[in-house]
Amino acid sequence: MESSILESIGQEIIGVMSPVSLCMLLVVLLVYSLSDSNSFSSAPIRTAANLVYLENPSDTAAQKLEGALLNALVFVILIAIVTFVLVLLYYYNFSNFLKNYMRFSAFFVLGSMGGSIFLSIIQHFSIPIDAITCFLLLFNYTIVGVLSMFSGGVPIILRQGYMLVELASSRDEELPALVYEARPTVSRNEGNPRSTLGFLVAGVSDSGSVELQAVSNNNVRKDGSENRRSPEYAAIQVRNLENVEGERNRVGERSPLVGHSRERYSPDSNSSEYSTVVRNRESEIVVDEERSPLVDMLGMDNEREHEMRDPVVASRGIKLGLGDFVFYSVLVGRAAMYDLMTVYACYLAVISGLGCTLILLSVCHRALPALPISITLGVIFYFLTRLLMEPFVVGIATNLMMF
C-alpha cells in the first residue's frame, strides 16, 4: 500500500510548534519550581529598567506613573544609543570585534542567568553541592553553550537545546534581566547588496540547507518578526537537518540590525551594564556567500520594507524568530503564576494563533509578524478563562460532576 499523504502533511507546522511548546514547558516548570522561594526577595535590584525611579509601595499613583514613564523614556534612549553604536560598528566593518563580542555576551548571558537559576534551584531543592563543583559545572555548561552556538560540528540538538534554555532562563522574571529587542535606527542600505547581505544580519533568508518538502508546496517563508523592523535575528532552525550549514541557517528577518540587548546584573558591581548581544552569525556568512545560493538570490530584495520573497526561494521552510519564543513564554509564564488552567488555555491560544499565522503565511507569501494574533488570543483567553471558566469548572468539579 502506498503511503498516504497523512504521513507527511503538516510537518513544517509541527516543526515550528514543537520548539515553542518545549520552551513554554520549560518556562512553566521553572516558574512552578521557583515561585515559592523567590516571591518575596530582598530589596529590588537596580537595573536598567529602573534607573531613574525605583518603585516604592508607599508612593502615590501619580508618582508611580511619572516614575514609570521616566524609566521607560530613559530605557528607550539607552537602547537606541547602544543600537546606534552597534550599527556604526557594523557599518565600519568591525566584524571581528562584533563576532567576539557576540561570543562574549552569549557566554556571559548563559553564565549569569543560567547561574542565577542554577543557584535558585539549588537553594530551593536543597541540593548538596559545593561551590567549586558548581562553578566548574556552570563554566562547562557555559563554554559548551558558546561553542555550540557559534561553531560548527556540534550536533544541532545541542544547539537548539541551548537556545531553548537560554530563552527560557532569560525570561525568568525573578532575575532583573530584561530581554529587549532593539529597533534598528539605520535605514536600509541599498548599496552593494552583497556586502550588506553579507554583513547585516538582515532578514536574509538563510541559506538553504533546508530540504524542500515534497508534499507541501506552500511557499511559506515567515520570519516571525514582530514587525518589519523588529530585530529577530537568530531563529531556531526548525528542522533537524544534519547539515553543517546549520549555523548559517539563521535569521529570518529583514532588519539590518538585530540587537538583542540585555541588561545584566553584575553581582560585583552594583550597577547594571548593558550588553547588546547581536546574535547574528551573519558575519560568518561573509566567507560562505558562495555556498549559499539563497543569499545571492535574495540580494536584490534585501532591505526593503515590504519585500516579497521569491517563491522558489521561499520554499525553504518556516522560520520563527527568537523574540517570538520569548514573548510566548512570557505570556504563558505569566499565566502559570495564576493557575494551571490558564496556562493550558493560553498555550492553546498561542498555538492556535501561531497556526493561523502560518496559514496566513501560506496564503500571502510574505513574511508576517508572529506575535499579534497569538498574543491577542492569549490575552483574551487568559481573561476569559480566569473570569468565566474557572468558577464554572471548579464549581462543578469539586461537586464531582463532570461532562
Binding site: M1, E2, S3, S4, I5, L6, E7, S8, I9, G10, Q11, I13, I14, G15, M17, A214, V215, N217, D339, L340, M341, Y344, A345, L348, I351, S352, G355, F381, L384, T385, L388, M389, P391, F392, V393, V394, G395, I396, A397, T398, N399, L400, M401, M402, F403
Partner: protein
C-alpha cells in the same frame, strides 16, 4: 501528597491517552494538529458554556436539579459542536483529497479517516482531563490531600482522576463512532454517541448523594466500556468490509 502522588494522579487520568498519543498520533504531524484544534474547540465550548452559566453561579450545592440542567445543556451544546466539527472535517477531507490528487498520491484511506477521528476524539478527551482534573491537581503536589464528603473514602484527586479516565475513553471513541455514523448515515451510531455522553454526564449526578460515587463511578465505567466495545465492533466490521471490497 508529594510529587509522586501528583504525577500518579495525572497519569491515572492521562496515561492511556499518552500512550495512544505516542504510538499513533505523534507519528503523523497532521494528527497532532487535529488533536490541538479539537482541544481548542472543546475549550471554546467550555468558555461559551461558562459564559452562559456565569450569571447563575455559584450554584446551590444542596439541590441536584440545577446541576442536571447544567449538565444537560452542556452535553447538548457539545454534541451540537461535534456536528459542526464533522461538517468542517468533511470539507477538510475534500481539500486533502484534492491535494492528494495534485501530488499524485493515493486519497485518504479508511484507516486515515479513522485516525483523524481518533485524534479529534483524543483532543476532546485530553481537554476534559486537563480542565476537569489536571488543573485542580496542583495542590496534590504538596504535602497534604483533600477529601470531599460526597466521596469520603478516597481523596478528591483520585476520584477526579478516575472520572477523567472514564470520560477520556468516552470522548475518544465516541468521536470515532460519530464520524463513522455520519459517514455511513448509520442512525444507530449517530444517536448512540449523544446518548452515551448524556448518560455519562448524568451518571456523575449520582455523585451528588452522600457517598454516591461508590455507585456512580462503576456505572460511568460501564458507559466507557460500552463505548469502547461498540467502537471496536464497528471498526472491525468496517475494516473487514473494506478489505473484502478491496479484494473483490
Amino acid at each position: 501528597m508529594t510529587v509522586a502522588a501528583g504525577i500518579g494522579y495525572a497519569l491515572v487520568a492521562l496515561g492511556p491517552s499518552l500512550s495512544l498519543f505516542i504510538s499513533v498520533i505523534s507519528k503523523k504531524p497532521f494528527l497532532i494538529l487535529t488533536l490541538l484544534s479539537s482541544t481548542l474547540v472543546w475549550l471554546i465550548s467550555l468558555i461559551i458554556l461558562s459564559g452562559i452559566w456565569r450569571a447563575f453561579l455559584p450554584l446551590n450545592s444542596t439541590s441536584w436539579w440545577p446541576f442536571a440542567i447544567l449538565i444537560f445543556s452542556s452535553v447538548a451544546f457539545q454534541e451540537g459542536l461535534r456536528l459542526l466539527f464533522w461538517k468542517v472535517y468533511k470539507r477538510l477531507e475534500d481539500i486533502l483529497d484534492a491535494f492528494a490528487d495534485r501530488v499524485s498520491k493515493p486519497r485518504l484511506y479508511l484507516t486515515d479517516k479513522m485516525q483523524i477521528a481518533l485524534a479529534g476524539g483524543l483532543g476532546h478527551g485530553v481537554a476534559h482531563a486537563v480542565f476537569f482534573c489536571l488543573s485542580l491537581l496542583t495542590p496534590a503536589f504538596g504535602p497534604a490531600t483533600y477529601f470531599v464528603d460526597r466521596c469520603s473514602q478516597i481523596p478528591f484527586f483520585l476520584v477526579s482522576a478516575i472520572i477523567a479516565l472514564a470520560f477520556v475513553t468516552v470522548h475518544t471513541f465516541s468521536m470515532v463512532i460519530a464520524f463513522n455514523g455520519y459517514a455511513e448515515g448509520n442512525k444507530l451510531d449517530q444517536y448512540f454517541v449523544p446518548s452515551v455522553h448524556l448518560a455519562a454526564g448524568m451518571m456523575t449526578l449520582i455523585n451528588f448523594a452522600y457517598d454516591g460515587c461508590v455507585i456512580g463511578i462503576p456505572l460511568l465505567f460501564l458507559m466507557a466500556i460500552l463505548t469502547l466495545m461498540h467502537c471496536g465492533r464497528m471498526v472491525w466490521r468496517r475494516l473487514a468490509d473494506n478489505q473484502r471490497q478491496g479484494i473483490s
